[in-house]
Symmetry: C2
Subunit: 454 residues, 2 copies
Amino acid sequence: MLQNAAPTCQLANFVASVRFEDLPPRVIDMARDLAIDWYGSCIAGGGARAVEALHRTCAALMPGQGPCTVLPTGEKAGIYVAAMLNAAACHVVEQDDVHNGSVFHPAAVVFPAVFAVAEARNLGGPAVIEAVVAGYETGIRVGEFLGRSHYVHFHTTATVGAIAAAAAVGRLLGLDTKQMLHAFGSAGTQAAGLWEFLADAADSKQLHTARASANGLFAAFSAAEGLTGASDIFGGTHGMGAALSQDAEPARLTEGLGQRWAICETSYKWHASCRHTHPAADALAEVMAREGLRADDIERVTAHVHRAAIDVLGAVIVPETVHQSKFSMGTVLGLVAVHGRAGVEEFDRLALACPDVAAFRDRVTMVHSPEVEAVYPRKWLGRVTVKTRDGRFLSGSTDDPKGDPGNPLTWNELLAKADGLIRYYRPQEAEARLVWLDRLTRLPQAPSLAELFR
Amino acid sequence: MLQNAAPTCQLANFVASVRFEDLPPRVIDMARDLAIDWYGSCIAGGGARAVEALHRTCAALMPGQGPCTVLPTGEKAGIYVAAMLNAAACHVVEQDDVHNGSVFHPAAVVFPAVFAVAEARNLGGPAVIEAVVAGYETGIRVGEFLGRSHYVHFHTTATVGAIAAAAAVGRLLGLDTKQMLHAFGSAGTQAAGLWEFLADAADSKQLHTARASANGLFAAFSAAEGLTGASDIFGGTHGMGAALSQDAEPARLTEGLGQRWAICETSYKWHASCRHTHPAADALAEVMAREGLRADDIERVTAHVHRAAIDVLGAVIVPETVHQSKFSMGTVLGLVAVHGRAGVEEFDRLALACPDVAAFRDRVTMVHSPEVEAVYPRKWLGRVTVKTRDGRFLSGSTDDPKGDPGNPLTWNELLAKADGLIRYYRPQEAEARLVWLDRLTRLPQAPSLAELFR
């Protein structure tokens, strides 16, 4: 251990020392469950236009096969390309996990890099789980450290994603504390990803996860090869906190290291849409169930939301693409109200095509809520007010949207969600992918990732 | 042409339309000279520890051969890896070019990407020169747009470098205005690179050029494959100006497009050190020559400098590595005073080992100068005050450090510099590299880059 008490160094030291044998069973179970959840998302995204464009780009620039599986297609590629393409695919259907407090999607950047390296090096489940835990514990804390001001311009999953992937791969490679600091330094100085793409509904979200995962992977490998990086890329005078945030809090980097397992705070997505829509969707479902309302009974819905929801979703009034509709509060609430579900199939079939959803969408507005804001991002409260056609004003609410730690998916729901996502892309190949899913349910005992994907 | 008057769109339109046939002869000559200058720097950096670490990292993550030459070693690689490794190599000996007004090193990011693509696609000199001009004109303007506040935390060559490389490769691929905007969007959302590494003299400068060139290349190729990006990544609400600068000026993006050729404002480096040391070095040489002083005659030197010089160089008091000594004002002035030169050989042999240089180094201080600051970064004024051992106070000055547009290298100096850099790395292979240099002197007429490097 380095004799340096700086939070960055404490974090590096912790991450470099994570051992499977020392992890509480609930942490191991959670890592396994998140792997299953991520895997389904990754398969489901394989056919997206942006993912296919990135696939062709990699083929032109980095041709050649390798030992790693590009999961949606089953093709083989080198470590870097496989990580990049799996990361591009797994975020696009908006079903991958999210950590509330850091507003960060860890799976999308951690698993692609870890699985690619583990498959190439023939590593087993325990090594994978150590790495995944290292990635989640690091990325979540760095996201919290950067604070809410960071999220104004920056897509945290892109910026922090590189750090999380570097920590995860760094653990997999067995980096010591000093090397881990170099990996952090090299990853942090590549941290990038702006929200500007939302204004055009451009494809950058897929580029962001792809590059973050690959950049973190690259940083960890380069540290193993002796490339040095800044020793305090988080807290330094010209580090990420100074350059990319206005309210960075170094103490968050080490909060509860070894006692608090941030990975267990991760939320699963139930609806296939931007997480900022979920609390209101569940609050609407709550009041409709409680009062026995149908969509037609509702004249108007007001969603009471936090500021970031308005920032991220606000631009989308009338969505033009299915992906864009996942960022439309009105569409998501319309799918839930009219069809009772907002899964990948409902989005494809109904988000743009169903006139009832469109009509409902136009009856939804968002307003900023101090109550919701006060506890965000620690808690994502769902609050809606409904005006019925017969003149009543009703309130719907949830304090734990479906998938949150206080309201998790059951084992069966988790598997059913993954099953549905796997059948969503190339259904004719689903059987082979379901075999891999079955093996993933025994990830902690898997002797070899290479065998798992055989 | 898109009917959009936004500066970003005007710039994209200009860049997408650059034609070799329309370029003034002095622009073509300049592009050729910069290619020669860059090539020498690229060969010279091949043996640096950081470059070799990046080489091994690429070999582990992106194995496989390709049609592109890794210039220092002559190995063949795919487009992406060749661009990355040549970009890593060409910045490390601190001899590559710089544009004063944007504080940006264009060659280090533009040429690696352009040469790799041109070699793979068997393109000739005119296409290369169009692309290089597109890269320089874009990168320089985006650097000026981001302003001086950007440079406080961000290494402009890293951040803007991705845009410059995207513009250059975009032109080489024949992107239209709309595709070029997508390439800008994808490059800009990957723009990263923090100065924090300077605190540890870490290797990130090489990582920065490598990644910037590769990220820009990737952005351009992905745009050609249909990946969309933000349409106003510079001026948008969550774009680079908003997120990475406090004083961004959109008008700078289009300043003199088609009349002003920013590429011709580029400076060559004479001394093999950080550009912030050059004005004072030349001012010291000036007063020593004028007054007939030797190093021993000098009791103290005060360098009057701009703020950025203090920010970038200030950390280095007693350098521990040769690369670090290139950021030590005292060492650079010591080499010039004691040995009359601060080239790559002098740094290796004398920067750390010569007691006279070390003694001189300790007699140098920097102070902030309002006069120098007032015209920076447009002009980089050199001002020193010398106190002699016999009690005189003398001033040295230059308004145009060696290599600046007002004081350029002669053709013979340019070739001699390149010759020396080529012989610096693997001298036993210099003859083959000098053949390529000779062909590069006829770049505008070269029918094929693939043949040039055969």
